[in-house]
Symmetry: C2
Subunit: 525 residues, 2 copies
Amino acid sequence: MKEEVPIAEKLAKEQREISVSQFFTKNKHLLGFDNPRKALSTTVKELVDNSLDATEEINILPEIIVEIKQLNDTRFIVTVEDNGPGIVKEQIPKIFAKLLYGSKFFKMAQARGQQGLGVSSSVLYGQLTTGKSAVITSKISRNKPAHYYELQIDTKKNEPNVIKDMIIEWDKDHGTKVKIELEGFYQKGKQSVDEYLKQTAIVNPHLNLIYINPEKYKMEFPRVTKELPKKSKEIKPHPYGVELGVLMQMLQDTKATTLQSFLQNDFCRVSAKVAKEICKKAGIYEKSRPKRIAREEVENLLKAIKETRIIAPPTDCLSPIGEELTLKGLKKEINADFYTTVTRPPSVYRGFPFQIETGIAFGGDIPKDEQIKLLRFANKVPLQYQQSACAITKSVINTAWRNYGLSQSRGALPIGPVILLVHIASVWVPFTSESKEAIAHYPEIIKEIKLALQDIGRKLVVYIRKHIKSKEQKEKIDLFEKYIPELAYSLSKLTNHEKDEIESKLKKLLKKELPTLEAENGAKE
Amino acid sequence: MKEEVPIAEKLAKEQREISVSQFFTKNKHLLGFDNPRKALSTTVKELVDNSLDATEEINILPEIIVEIKQLNDTRFIVTVEDNGPGIVKEQIPKIFAKLLYGSKFFKMAQARGQQGLGVSSSVLYGQLTTGKSAVITSKISRNKPAHYYELQIDTKKNEPNVIKDMIIEWDKDHGTKVKIELEGFYQKGKQSVDEYLKQTAIVNPHLNLIYINPEKYKMEFPRVTKELPKKSKEIKPHPYGVELGVLMQMLQDTKATTLQSFLQNDFCRVSAKVAKEICKKAGIYEKSRPKRIAREEVENLLKAIKETRIIAPPTDCLSPIGEELTLKGLKKEINADFYTTVTRPPSVYRGFPFQIETGIAFGGDIPKDEQIKLLRFANKVPLQYQQSACAITKSVINTAWRNYGLSQSRGALPIGPVILLVHIASVWVPFTSESKEAIAHYPEIIKEIKLALQDIGRKLVVYIRKHIKSKEQKEKIDLFEKYIPELAYSLSKLTNHEKDEIESKLKKLLKKELPTLEAENGAKE
């Protein structure tokens, strides 16, 4: 190394900021745009998820229209229209053409979207592969005009670039329509757009969906209930979930003027009594100004929080599907002999409330000798990729299904005529990647999923036992009936009684037993 | 919905920008900080990778000191010191305390770091779990002073927060020392810091590493070669790898004043002749101003590029380990009977050059009846996590190892006394997540890995056949020798010749054959 011109100075000139758009342009597979097929289904998914979240905001029954128009072998236009609240003019560019922008990231409430990445990443991908702008139309009220935008993302700055901005007529009270042109590939079957929409209909039984596929075939997924899902409420963070660095930041940002009021106001479940107890344990005066608490004291504060009994966070931030509606959803889309569902009570990981639901469809059209079909959902969104990397799959594999009437090889999914649905609802679902395809392996979550599977397993095995038992008994009766004449003949020879008399008595006896057997037989739910 | 106050207006107030630091604070598992154990090894990895990249910049033999000091059950201080070029004062805060900042993201040259995320994410994690600042000392030349910084990340802005900034004495010509305090957990074995360092030593045989572990035990990994790895050169993007959106951006950003000069200057492998051919095929005048080319024309341009024969990108942007040094690395750290290595010629995916290398150690201390041990590397960095999600693992599993002398169950790693090393070197390694743990499943990459495995498989089976064959022959000779007296006795009875004479003749015969057999026997490399 020449001392005169340190190489460090040459290297310094190469250092640059990387915008988050540039980062994800190069890493688009992280957002679910690995290949053209997945790109198409990711785009539909992000738009439909947004529409469902939007309609939930205004407690309205969702009416969503999805259209995929094929332009040539590799090019498509995806349009998704909803009857949600619409978006105010000023917010439209940022929501659609800026990555990491949104309302849900900082909000502790269950939602499909959570990162502020989904819809803008679809816009980015469309722009990258076709150069075309995303087209947004949105109307927020009958009395206000609709706004029409053509948007691109300035990838260097990660800021919206408004190409067109107009007021237009739109014969609709309120709602949003998004149109994205992109390179893609359309295929049916597993992991397809069609399958995604079908699964979405299962866990959103209140949704009315119209889907026009690239072959111009129009499909309807009608709603089976007018009951709206319980709206999830926003909660404050729970003290047990806070980390040192975050706590330090919160103390700087708070509007509270004393430590005690900070603890009471900025967290959930902290009463005056609990706040005082924490302060005392931490050895910090409860009237201290939050901004002036030193790092070492914050460490003591965090330790004190961990040592104090605080009740679990409220769970009205969650909106599970519920046992009844999950049942309706399954029955609507799957033809089976037996259906059952379980919704577990809410639980908590790292201060985040979450809840596991599971459902089973058994028999009927479902293939008997194959591995079960596993449907995974997070906040009512189907997870179609990376099954093997998911905590749900791990939990299913590690459950002893032999106890519940199914056969199973070690380390594999069980075998049997079963479609198994598992849903995690949470204010923050920990995904293994930005594309939200698999749940990370948090022990608290895996434990709860296992408990849910055991609950539903016990319900399944009751049905299987009855089902198989009654079937076996029916076979025994049939066999016995068949041999009555021969038996009567032998008995008549041995006892010197009339053969016909014995035969009629045996038949009577059999009839007496039948009602009990038939009652067991009719055990279908 | 009440028409008077559209909910959209209430919702608009909740919309916010999410800084990339805030995003990764909540999603820290995406960066490799899933749990305390992994957090510790990720931190060491990011710092050591940076040090190795730095020393390569100045063509110097790396001298790296890693120290992990344990403060209590869960708290550690990681210090990594190198003899790299150092960092100029102004750049230190951003490099260490701003996510998505660096020199390698926009550079087409093989490097360990590529995203501008690694070291700053370790600083972020330390701050989050301990509230402590990262401490950086750096010196760029003997004649200049050393700079000392204490840094935090302002997570709301994703900008550095300088806590301390001093000039200090440092008895060193040039280099950088980084100290991070964090919550962690130290454990030996698979996926440990110790294992990461051992594997790093294998693929960086020119590295001299001193490691002081949390038990204060000092380990040395001495270099086995003074030969420096070939320095990777920066190349321009290849036209085959460019996407429409990126091409449009490049046309806006270029300094070239004509389309032809743009094609020649902003890409590699485009001569005047090729540039003219592309313009002609696209139907665009070669002297057109790049900034004025319309979207539709860019589409034609991209189509024309795809239809034009352009030679593959230069491969001096790559720095493979090489067959000889991989062999040295394996021999240094693994005790086996047989070693062999293969470096494939470079190949290209999406315009990015890449190259596969593989090595095998067989027999010796390696367990016989277990699945082989697979060591995965990307740009000379060991990949310790997510083995099952990696394209390398997939390729190994899908290779028919029975053809190469190992037993193998369907869908599993082969069984045998083998440590298998696979290395991908590329200007842009496509990882499945920011934490860079597994290679994404690009078909071109999987194909090349398979070819490399077949190459090395053929070398392995030659050794196994010889080894087993000679062993079997030796056993036959021993057996034959044992029965010579008895055979001689029988022959003597049958033929009336002297038993001793026959015996000595048989022994002579055996000796005649021996040299050939022994030559085959001594086939160890």
